[in-house]
């Protein structure tokens, strides 16, 4: 079930997803295919309603596509039961949401430990990894701070650490810099790209902002549910 080193960490083949039926039906994804290698960050750009979030939801096991297959880290996500998809998300997927996504009554460190606990990581290993990750992401000394005591940029760095603590096969980031100013947003995007490469995790970054997309290895454009590889990708 585990992906080989030179095998794609994420492989979408012919994925379609339509919301609603009849005249009100909206095709969010049409025959979409995408491959992301371990250590590679792919930025997905496109206007609102172009299917970017649906793409992340399908890879993350939040949505089941109507057709097509999704394989992540050797696991065929589209074949998993509802219960198994929760386990898949806890062990193979790291999510970074747009904003205010930390549990507000838990400290930065406890937010990481909660994710590790969902993934079934042992307590000792989780504590060690949490300490290391927070230090590596420049949050040393802020471990016991609650999200409300952290700046927006610091909160997103904690969210990135949380997404990585269980060593997922894929990191999915949905507009992670949207609530930050340009400079801090860019710093978070660079950090995200650095960690994806360093940890050999596949990364999918959804963004509106070309500057944020510039940290990715490749850029894919989403329009009307279709994905198109663009030539403006650049190595971060």
């Amino acid at each position: 079930m585990t992906a080989e080193p030179n095998e794609a960490a994420v492989r979408l083949t012919g994925v379609s997803k339509t919301y609603g039926r009849g005249r009100t039906a909206v095709a969010a994804l049409r025959d979409a295919s995408l491959t992301v290698m371990p250590g590679e960050l792919v930025a997905v750009m496109g206007p609102s309603g172009s299917g970017k979030s649906t793409l992340l939801a399908v890879i993350g096991g939040l949505l089941t596509p109507d057709t097509g297959t999704v394989v992540v880290g050797g696991v065929e996500v589209t074949a998993l039961s509802r219960g198994s998809r929760a386990r898949y998300r806890a062990t193979r997927v790291g999510f970074v949401f747009q904003s205010l996504n930390l549990v507000p009554f838990l400290t930065a460190r406890e937010n990481l430990l909660l994710m590790a606990s969902l993934a079934g990581t042992t307590r000792t290993a989780a504590r060690r990894r949490a300490g290391n990750l927070l230090a590596e992401l420049g949050l040393e000394g802020r471990e016991r701070d609650f999200p409300g005591q952290l700046s927006g940029g610091e909160q997103q760095r904690v969210a990135i650490a949380r997404a990585l603590i269980h060593e997922p096969a894929v990191l999915l980031a949905d507009e992670p810099t949207a609530s930050l100013d340009t400079e801090r947003g860019y710093a978070v995007a660079v950090l995200l790209a650095r960690e994806v490469r360093r940890r050999r995790t596949a990364g999918v970054l959804v963004t509106h902002d070309p500057r944020m997309a510039s940290v990715a290895d490749r850029v894919v454009r989403a329009a009307d549910g279709s994905l198109t590889e663009t030539a403006d990708a650049k190595a971060g």
Binding site: S53, A86, R87, R89, F95, V103, P104, E110, L118
Partner: protein, 370 residues
């Protein structure tokens, strides 16, 4: 880990705990009142050594209306499955003491058969032909001592106190145990219309042999007594005047309080689930299973409920300790445990639907909110 929230958001915990404590205390106080009143109304029957009680056919299971001539006793004692037979008479009346008047329940007994009070300690039970009584230990608080005289206000023989018994109360009154002949004389004085020229009792009591089949003996006793109503001890307790109505009323009150407790928990859980919908969806998106979230949410309802039950018992114990001895309330351990379990069950039942709905929140909400 989400249980930490209760301690880090003490306002939320305090609000629901205080509300639940008030409701739980109300339920526990009602149960203690029910237990106390029940023991006070029926204790003398509940502690009886008799297994079966026979009421005359036209009495409709009422102590006051039932009458048997004592000559029937020998016939009942000979029936198969009957180890021993006895007789009982009851009369609520007032007795004058040297310094005050008290209401009592006079219990006429044969002292040797089933239904007799336990041996008197200290002192002794009355002897045959003696106008005397062994009285409830509770009457000590009214100044009754060994050798005291009780004078019935309605007339009849004066009674010398020969002993004290822990036989329980009847119709919320302390009991005064006399011979059947003395009881009959007191009844005739208090209720001349019910006087009889032959020795009588109100109910006949039966103790069963080890292998007797209760139903079969009941049928045989009933047939031998011309269609008498023969019932077990628990049913006989309900035949005490007012006991059944009292139990039903208090049970309905307790049920109403438990219903409100369930509603409060349902409301608390529903509010919490609505307020935290986005957060729960995010946790589901991160991989928390519906079961895990459900258990956490249930714990968040259960912990305040457990704290509330504990506080309610402490509150009730303090109230009972401060209440005067005559206050008819008691909280035996089985009743306390049962009440605690019922309150927690009501809390769980109230919370279950909102919790299940909240725990199965669609994680896609997280993406839609972005």
């Amino acid at each position: 880990m989400m249980v930490i929230e209760l301690w880090r958001r003490p306002g939320r915990l305090a609000g629901v705990t205080v509300t639940m404590t008030a409701l739980a205390a109300l339920a526990v106080i009602l149960v203690s009142l029910s237990s106390g009143l029940w023991a006070g109304a029926t204790g003398a029957i509940g502690r009886s050594s008799a297994d079966e009680f026979a009421f005359s056919r036209d009495s409709l299971g009422s102590f006051a209306r039932s009458r048997f001539p004592l000559t029937e006793l020998a016939r009942v004692a000979r029936l198969p499955g009957v180890r021993a037979a006895g007789a009982l008479g009851t009369l609520t009346t007032a007795m004058s003491l040297p310094h005050q008047t008290v209401d009592v329940a006079v219990m006429g007994s044969q002292f040797s058969g089933p239904g007799a009070p336990p041996a008197a300690l200290p002192g002794r039970l009355p002897r045959a032909g003696e106008d005397a009584a062994a009285v409830d230990v509770a009457l000590r608080a009214d100044g009754v001592r060994l050798g005291s005289w009780l004078r019935p206000l309605a007339g009849g023989p004066r009674l010398r106190v020969t002993g004290f018994v822990a036989a329980g109360q009847f119709e919320l009154l302390p009991t005064v145990w006399t011979s059947l002949a003395t009881w009959q004389a007191l009844s005739a004085a208090a209720q001349p219309e019910s006087s009889s020229s032959v020795p009588v009792a109100q109910v006949l009591t039966v103790s069963l042999t080890a292998r007797a089949r209760q139903r079969q003996v009941q049928d045989e006793v009933s047939a031998a007594l011309g269609g008498a109503t023969v019932i077990g001890r628990d049913q006989a307790m309900l035949a005490v005047p007012g006991a059944a109505a009292m139990r039903t009323t208090i049970a309905e009150l307790i049920a109403a309080v438990l219903g409100v407790a369930a509603a409060v928990c349902a409301l608390f859980s529903a509010l919490q689930a609505a307020e935290r919908r986005a957060e729960l969806a995010r946790l589901r998106a991160l991989g928390a299973s519906a079961r895990r979230l459900g258990m956490t949410l249930l714990a968040q309802t259960g912990i305040p409920a457990i704290l509330a039950v504990g506080a309610a018992f402490l509150l009730t114990a303090a109230l009972l300790a401060a209440a005067p001895p005559q206050f008819p309330a008691a909280l035996p351990l089985p009743d306390a445990a049962g009440t605690g379990a019922l309150i927690l069950l009501a809390a769980g039942a109230g919370a279950i639907v909102p919790v299940v709905r909240a725990a199965s929140v669609d994680p896609m909400i997280t993406m839609e909110e972005q």
